[in-house]
């Protein structure tokens, strides 16, 4: 491929020895990264490998790093996204920087609108310039329409055009296709080709195997904050790529007692969750699963796999977007909303305790009893004494460290907040516990506590479905692992057949059993 071709003797960007710490934690260690003109450079790695941190350093979000960045041979240290964009580096995020009700042309020139004297906008000049820019990139969009009239895929293209219009030479795309439909993806790839031809350097982060195969010229793999390697795409087989990403041998550091599964607790068939807007592929596509009493079913999938949505759907939180058949302890059951689910003995620990798990201003006791109020109240009147007793019992069982049960949960540490969220769900005595990233953002001690409790709960007959983006955790805790890729079930592995490679392969869209 055209990576080290003599026509481009120097890279656009040369990052050397980049190290970044968050407190005591080193998230990047001496990473080297080059971007050459006219190449698509795929940055790969598991969740938490340090991809986003590296991009944020390049994009000026973090400026307190060690190491050097050279842009076209000049040493730079972008201190803000604005400065990075002045230097010709554009990062295209999921959250676009467009103003939806404004016209395409206005958006393209936002902040540098061509003006006459007195600040009057030179509309005609702006329109012509916008048309020329879009034509150059092969986009046929009416520049006088408000951006919000266009679907997300087109808006993303407009965002890229906006960056190109600002003389961006380096364009970084972080999972740009995760919310796009198939034709939208095609249009994006066409634009990528155009940009390559113009000599831009593109960094592309993706979890999708087929996209890597299709557009990558060069691949750099990060693992645990370090660079594993950087090679032309043709020299790296899928197998090898996955080995690079997984790397370490996964040791048995978690005490999972192998369960004696009982009867089937939960079964779903043909479970589908529609996309958020019409015309988009379903987020979860005809998935069938079951989990037994005393069993932990691991649910694996990379970003955009639909695993979280599957749990939300089972829990009734997505309302009519979710459809399919569901059995609880052999009984066909309909769950229309979270209230139904809780009454039927299903609990869901969401993956973000701050936005969907806890009411931060409310007290520990109020949060811990929120889901169980119907049982704790009499004739609708609260009984504060009983609530306190219940909350105290839960916080003892979970060894919650809080100065008082009356203090707002906002004042607790992350691990203790997670314990309050868990306490809320244990309080309703669930039969099925859905855990979405239960150990996210908690320290090692609490993590091990949670593993220990999961053993206890399953021993008591609870069925658990677990989502975790940490591969060792998933492999060690799950009795079985179901893997999702773009909403489809791509593998179901028993404990003894599950390896990191096989899980990752299925998560990146290779069906089990097919070898490249």
């Amino acid at each position: 491929m055209a990576t080290d071709s003599p026509s481009s003797p120097s890279p656009l960007v040369r990052m050397r020895g980049i190290t970044k710490r968050f407190g005591p934690v080193e998230v990047l260690r001496g990473v080297d990264f080059d971007i050459w003109p006219g190449e698509v450079h795929v940055l790969a790695g598991e969740n938490g490998a340090g991809k986003s941190t590296l991009i944020k350093i390049l994009g000026g979000v973090y400026s307190d790093y060690e190491g050097r960045i050279e842009l076209a041979g000049r040493l730079v240290r972008p201190a803000s996204p604005l400065e990075a964009s002045r230097l010709g580096v554009a990062v295209i995020h999921q959250e676009l920087s467009l103003v939806p009700p404004m016209r395409v042309a206005d958006n393209l020139f936002l902040g540098r609108t061509p003006c006459f004297a007195l600040g009057l906008v030179a509309y005609r000049a702006q329109r012509e310039e916008a048309r020329r820019l879009l034509a150059e990139l092969g986009l046929e969009i009416d520049v006088d329409q408000p951006v919000e009239r266009y679907p997300l895929g087109v808006r993303q293209l407009v965002e890229i055009a906006k960056a190109v219009g600002r003389q961006a030479r380096v364009i970084v795309m972080d999972e740009p296709t995760s919310a796009l439909s198939a034709p939208e993806v095609e249009r994006l790839f066409a634009l990528v080709e155009k940009l390559k031809a113009q000599g831009c350097g593109l960094v592309y982060i993706t979890h999708k195997m087929e996209e890597i195969e299709r557009i990558a010229d060069r691949i750099t793999v990060l693992r645990d904050g370090q660079r594993v390697g950087s090679v032309p795409a043709t020299e790296l087989s899928t197998r090898e790529l996955i080995r690079w990403m997984v790397g370490r041998e996964v040791e048995q550091q978690f005490p999972r007692h192998v369960a004696q599964p009982g009867n089937e607790r939960l079964r779903i068939e043909e479970f589908t969750v529609r996309g958020e807007r019409p015309g988009l592929r379903p987020v979860v596509d005809r998935v069938g699963l079951s989990v037994r009493a005393g069993e932990i079913l691991g649910l694996a999938g990379l970003r955009g796999s639909g695993a979280s949505e599957l749990l939300l759907g089972i829990f009734g939180a997505l309302g009519p977007r979710a459809s399919g058949r569901l059995w609880l302890d052999g009984q066909p059951t309909r769950i229309r909303n979270p209230r139904d689910a809780i009454r039927q003995g299903i609990a869901l620990l969401t993956n973000d305790r701050k936005t969907t798990g806890l009411v931060l201003e409310m007290s520990v006791a109020a949060n811990a009893t929120l889901a169980d109020l119907p049982r704790l109240c009499r004739w609708g009147w609260r009984r504060p004494q009983r609530e306190l007793e219940a909350a105290a019992a839960q916080s003892r069982a979970l060894r919650l460290r809080a100065a008082s049960l009356d203090m707002p949960v906002a004042q607790l540490s992350g691990g203790n907040q997670q314990k309050v969220a868990l306490a809320k769900w244990l309080q309703v005595q669930p039969r099925v516990l859905l855990l979405d990233e239960p150990t996210r953002g908690v320290d090692v001690g609490v993590k091990h506590d949670i593993y220990h409790w999961m053993n206890q709960w399953t021993a008591a007959g609870m069925a658990i479905i677990l989502i975790t983006s940490e591969m060792p955790e998933l492999l060690a805790l799950s009795d079985r692992i179901a893997v999702l890729h773009r909403g489809r079930l791509t593998a179901e592995l028993a404990r003894h057949e599950a390896t990191a490679d096989r899980v990752l392969e299925a998560a990146m869209g290779r069906l089990a059993g097919t070898t490249p």
Partner: protein, 334 residues
């Protein structure tokens, strides 16, 4: 394994930073102002305080309902118009149609509840912005009040079929409402205190109150915890409408008529009482105790300015300033 327990803030400082402390301070400041500008001892007479209670009562009732709505993360601009609608309806029913009180009172309360039901359904069920939905309700209820009354006050002068007027007695229930209970405290003041006590009880001790805090604090977390969000929110607007209807009947009784133009701007006074008390407009934080402090602060400020015969123009400017100062002082440090 062992994480440090977050050190609790020192007691004295924590108390000082609490919204309650700040509201108490604001109230004390206003009372001190009254003690200085007592206007030949008028401020120290019991009569003055009883009058202050009676004059603040209507605003106070609405502020209690407003507190429920604001804690759930909404706002209710319709209460002033609902007061007028209720006053008109109550006067028509008791004076013109000759309904006994035990028909007229529930009917008026039902209309207030109905208005709240509409506002609540628009916001909670149809997801309209509370500001817009209740603004629409405010305009509509005002129009309905004018339609019912024919655009004029509903007084004891009743129009005969032949176009002449006859005078009828002021209904007994009007006298009952504006009378002094046991010859000392005004019935209206007592009604207000009852409204405050009931809303306090609901917020502090009822499941619904806990649900309102949860919704205002984090609606999605509340929904995922099985809270019936729509129902809880609609009920808050219904309660607000009912309390506005109570205020409306008190208004009618005091004026011995139903004025379709009554209560204009009252919603803003009620909101400012809630906010000065320290209940957050973002929802999830606050309470009736705080609102009570806010009610007393504004009520006393108005009373002190009026016994000192400060001209209306100055009173308005001063009230506006006080609201700004109080809310700035409410800001949490950091």
């Amino acid at each position: 394994m062992s994480e440090p327990i977050p050190p609790p803030p020192r007691l004295a400082t924590r108390w000082l930073y609490s919204p309650a402390a700040r509201s108490v301070a604001a109230l004390l400041l206003i009372l001190a102002l009254g003690a200085v500008f007592h206007h030949r001892g008028a401020f120290f007479r019991l009569e003055t305080h009883k009058a202050a209670l009676r004059q603040t009562a209507e605003y106070g009732m609405m502020a209690c309902g407003m507190t429920l709505v604001i804690i759930s993360g909404g706002i209710d601009l319709a209460v002033g118009s609902i007061l007028a609608l209720s006053a008109v309806l109550f006067s028509l029913a008791t004076i013109h149609w000759g309904w006994p009180a035990w028909y007229a009172i529930p009917a008026t309360l039902a209309v207030g509840a109905g208005c709240g039901l509409v506002s609540g359904t628009l916001t909670a069920w149809l997801r309209m912005q509370p500001f817009i939905a209740t603004l629409a309700m405010m305009v509509f209820a005002r129009g309905l009040a004018k339609a019912l009354s024919g655009g004029t006050q509903v007084t004891t002068a009743v129009r005969n079929p032949d176009g002449t007027y006859r005078w009828v007695d002021v209904p007994q229930v009007f006298y009952a409402i504006k009378a002094d209970l046991f010859g000392t405290v005004s019935m209206i003041g007592v009604l207000f205190l009852v409204c405050a006590a009931v809303t306090w009880l609901l917020l502090a001790r009822h499941r619904w109150g806990r649900e309102l805090y949860a919704i205002g604090g984090n609606e999605e977390a509340a929904r995922l915890s099985g809270v019936r969000v729509v129902r809880a929110k609609v009920l808050a607007y219904v309660a607000s409408g009912v309390l506005a209807a109570v205020a409306g009947m008190c208004h009618a009784a005091q004026e011995e008529q139903g004025n379709p133009d009554a209560g204009e701007g009252y919603e803003l006074i009620a909101i400012s009482m809630v906010v000065i008390g320290g209940t957050s407009l973002m929802g999830g934080r606050g309470g009736i105790g705080l609102t009570l402090l806010g009610i007393l602060t504004i009520g006393y400020l108005d009373k002190i300015l009026s016994i000192n015969e400060v001209p209306l123009a100055w009173r308005l400017m001063l009230t506006g300033t006080i609201i700004v100062v109080a809310v700035l002082a409410q800001r949490r440090p950091g």
